[in-house]
């Protein structure tokens, strides 16, 4: 086995699982570290949090060793040693917490590097930092021994009013287990009614295994009396045994299994309710729902054609069924979509973490406010939004927010405010990153852009600030700093958002602050689309990317610098003839409508001949690199069995601006192989 895979070791097949599990552990670690922050400098930091952190790094260490990610193993080992020293008696210092935060961030990078097949970042200085921290505590070895396991008397502590202490015993049997009553679910039930202060196994006299739980709870006795039928017995707790005797105690009533087993409803707490599913399986499920949507559209078309040939009553019944089917399909589609959704909480927690790290570096004071953390976003989208959001947050802290003294000088609170908000509106998701910092000085940005040659002097007044910021190669800094100079400019942010079919907007006031708003479609797989006709061919255009459909009168068209423009809302809108762009035969030139897409300077009118209607379409990406064409997002099948291409409106708007180098593609030739790939 080792010979077959000399580079990756025998457990290489588990790498994907490794990445997923590490991500989970790091998520827990981030939350625990943020929760630990208030106890900096206090004696006895929260033991449970430290235990949790310790276990995260312990697990990462073990797994990293198995899949041979040495840097992660070493780092986790040092962090674990430090945590183990901390658990003994120490005070968590600011530098300790900061080192742990830096450790988590470094761990992310180490794992990301392994995932990308790149060489790991240098961890030597961080390792050194942890061993220095651990050795600060005289006598604590760098390899801390495992705590000697003990079975102490439960530490019950002072009772709050209305609380009592109960002792529960539970003996598992295969019958109970088959009903979902097992030690894990029993523990969960008890945790739901109070605090489990002890959970230990008992050696029963009859040689059977049982468990004892000591629980402090203010719940009424009646709430667990009904658990008797699940063989969960209870009595008031009395401290009887000395430490160590617990293992051999006999605590079960003798007639345990004699009671008739009443039919018991399945416990709502039965087992762990979480399932981990590979995203590709959900893609497959979504694909099948997509097939259904197409079949129903087919049925819809057939029904319309059949209306004249059928008895009205029969037809209406069929039509009712058809409409019910449509509703049910929408529900099904939403159900599948919901499965793919994850709360944005985890992303926000990561931002919280990054802000924490940045404020330490920059010495600024930042209060981070999060809202809408339960907003759910498609897992695929979340992963692609991580870097753009990180960039916006980094920008806000390092450029947007001022130092405390600058803020005080301009009459602001010394603490800067940064808000991360998420919300859903209909079919779209909004994510906002807002700061109350110095705002973006448009004049300075334009001046800089002119210096860099990105904007011609005369166009500056009409160009939108966001367009300039997002121009490739734009930076207001002459020297990139660590926080923002990572090569992920605003251009990349906007591209990432647009690739997901979303849009980016900017709102800024000098001296008051800046807000970036990201708008994203809720799902990528099925979309409402306008069906349009260009030179006799039909195309689908996702509705979410179209701001408006306007009718064109020939009189409104003007030619300006070799471009056709349209007067539109007090300005001019460049018109892009899609028939020309795609090289279609369009002798007739009967353009009648423009689909307005893009914001501000990037708004473009896509000229089409006719608008045929609005439909739900299933987006099939074109995966074959040979048929990938700019301006085409994918393909779909309409209900009448015909395939049409889906236009990428924002991509078209982008290439319209670089109109000098338009691809001259023979789309007719493309259509058939493209669709063959798409299916």
């Amino acid at each position: 086995m080792a010979l077959d895979e000399p580079i990756h070791g025998p457990f290489a097949e588990f790498l994907d699982d490794y990445f997923v599990e590490c991500e989970e552990h790091l998520g827990v670690a981030r939350r625990s570290l943020l929760a630990l922050e208030p106890s900096v400098g206090q004696p006895n930091p929260d033991r449970l949090l430290l235990d949790e952190l310790f276990r995260c790094f312990h697990s990462i260490k073990g797994l990293s060793a198995m899949v041979d990610v040495r840097a992660a193993e070493q780092l986790a080992h040092q962090m674990e040693s430090y945590l183990s020293a901390l658990r003994k008696r120490q005070i968590l210092t600011t530098s300790g917490l900061e080192s742990l935060i830096a450790g988590v961030i470094m761990m992310e990078q180490v794992i990301a590097a392994r995932r990308a097949g790149a060489s790991p970042p240098d961890i030597a200085s961080l390792l050194h930092r942890f061993s220095a921290l651990a050795s600060l505590e005289e006598g604590s070895p760098s390899c801390a021994p495992v705590d000697e396991p003990t079975l102490p008397e439960p530490e019950i502590g002072p009772l709050r009013p209305g609380e009592s202490v109960w002792q529960f015993t539970f003996a598992p049997t295969p019958e109970l287990a088959a009903r979902g009553v097992n030690v894990n679910t029993v523990r969960e039930r008890l945790q739901a009614v109070g605090e489990v202060v002890q959970a230990i196994p008992l050696l029963h006299v009859a040689g059977r295994i049982a468990f004892r739980f000591v629980v402090r709870s203010n719940a009424a006795e009646s709430s667990f009396a009904v658990w008797e039928r699940d063989s969960i017995h209870y009595e008031p707790y009395a401290s009887t045994s000395k430490a160590g005797d617990a293992l051999v105690e006999s605590a079960l009533p003798s007639d345990t299994e004699q009671r008739p087993a009443a039919p018991v409803p399945v416990s709502p707490l039965g087992g762990s309710n979480l399932v981990r599913v590979d995203l590709s399986r959900l893609d497959e499920l979504m694909r099948m729902v997509g097939e259904l949507v197409i079949s129903r559209a087919h049925l819809d078309d057939t029904l319309k054609r059949a209306s004249s040939a059928m008895q009205p009553a029969d037809w209406r019944t069929l039509q009712d069924t058809n409409l019910a089917l449509e509703r049910q399909l929408r529900d099904l589609r939403e159900g599948v979509m919901r499965v793919r959704m994850v709360p944005v909480r985890e992303v926000f927690a990561r931002m919280q973490f990054v802000v924490r790290d940045l404020t330490r570096e920059s010495g600024k004071k930042v209060a981070l406010e999060l809202s809408g953390q339960d907003t759910e976003i498609d897992k695929f989208v979340v992963e692609r939004m991580m870097d753009p959001l990180l960039h916006l947050v980094r920008n806000a802290v390092s450029h947007g927010l001022e130092t405390s003294s600058d803020r005080a000088a301009s009459g602001k609170s010394p603490e800067g405010h940064l808000s991360l908000r998420a919300s859903t509106t209909g079919e779209t998701i909004l994510i906002e990153v807002e700061d109350d910092g110095r705002g973006i000085d448009a004049e300075r940005v334009f001046a800089r852009a002119r210096t860099l040659g990105l904007v011609a002097a005369e166009t500056a007044p009409t160009a939108s600030l966001l367009d300039v910021l997002c121009a490739a190669g734009f930076s207001t800094r002459d020297v990139a700093d660590r926080a923002s100079g990572r090569g992920v400019g605003m251009a990349v942010v906007r591209t990432a958002v647009e690739e997901l079919g979303g849009s980016l907007a900017l709102d800024t006031t000098v001296g008051r602050g800046t807000r970036f708003t990201i708008q994203l479609p809720l799902t990528l797989a099925i979309a409402d689309a306008l069906i349009v006709e260009i030179a006799g061919q039909r195309y689908a255009v996702p509705q979410v990317s179209i701001r408006e459909v306007i009718r064109i009168e020939d009189a409104e068209l003007t030619v300006l610098e070799n471009n056709e423009v349209l007067y539109y809302r007090g300005g001019v809108l460049p018109l892009m003839r899609l028939s020309e762009y795609f090289g279609l035969d369009s002798a007739a030139q009967q353009v009648r409508y423009a689909l307005v897409t893009g914001e501000g300077l990037r708004a473009v009118g896509l000229a089409v001949d006719r608008v045929l209607g609005l439909r739900e379409v299933v987006v099939r990406p074109l995966t074959d690199p040979l048929v990938r064409v700019s301006g085409i997002a994918g393909a779909t099948e309409l209900g009448d069995g015909h395939a049409v291409l889906i236009l990428d409106a924002s991509g078209l708007a982008r290439s319209s601006r670089q109109s000098g180098k338009r691809d001259n593609l023979r789309l007719n030739a493309l259509a058939s192989p493209a669709l063959a790939t798409a299916r």
């Binding site: 310790f54 312990h58 080992h77 495992v146 293992l247």
Partner: protein, 123 residues
């Protein structure tokens, strides 16, 4: 059919252990993610051998070993402790506490498989 109980709080690690032992025939695997669950499994299935992680959320692996050794019905079950670097200091404690074998992660899957064969008298 022999029954092997794989105890580890990491699902990935449990799969790695089972993958290491997939060359064994006539074996069924049972899994537990914490100490109490491990002990419960003993009551629910005729377990012939246990692989055991030490650092688990509710109960230390050494407590599990001690419990198993004190229980008349399960005291003979071979327990292979699989643990991570730096727990070396607990090797002695684990072996005196009743562990049959102590392997450190990363373990060699072939070594694990051959030791399990020995313990279970498998061909």
């Amino acid at each position: 059919m022999k029954n092997i109980l794989v105890v580890d709080d990491s699902a990935t690690m449990r799969r790695m252990v089972m993958a290491s032992l997939r060359t064994l025939t006539e074996v069924a695997f049972h899994e537990a993610a914490n100490g109490l669950e491990a002990i419960e499994r003993l009551a629910l299935a005729p377990i012939d051998l246990m692989t055991l992680d030490l650092n688990m959320p509710d109960m230390h692996g050494l407590e599990v070993v001690k419990f198993v050794r004190r229980h008349p019905m399960y005291e003979r079950i071979p327990v292979i402790v699989l643990t991570t670097r730096s727990d070396e200091d607990s090797r002695g404690t684990a072996l005196t506490g009743g562990a049959s074998l102590y392997l450190t992660k990363p373990f060699d899957p072939a070594v694990l498989a051959s030791r399990v064969r020995e313990f279970m008298n498998l061909p």
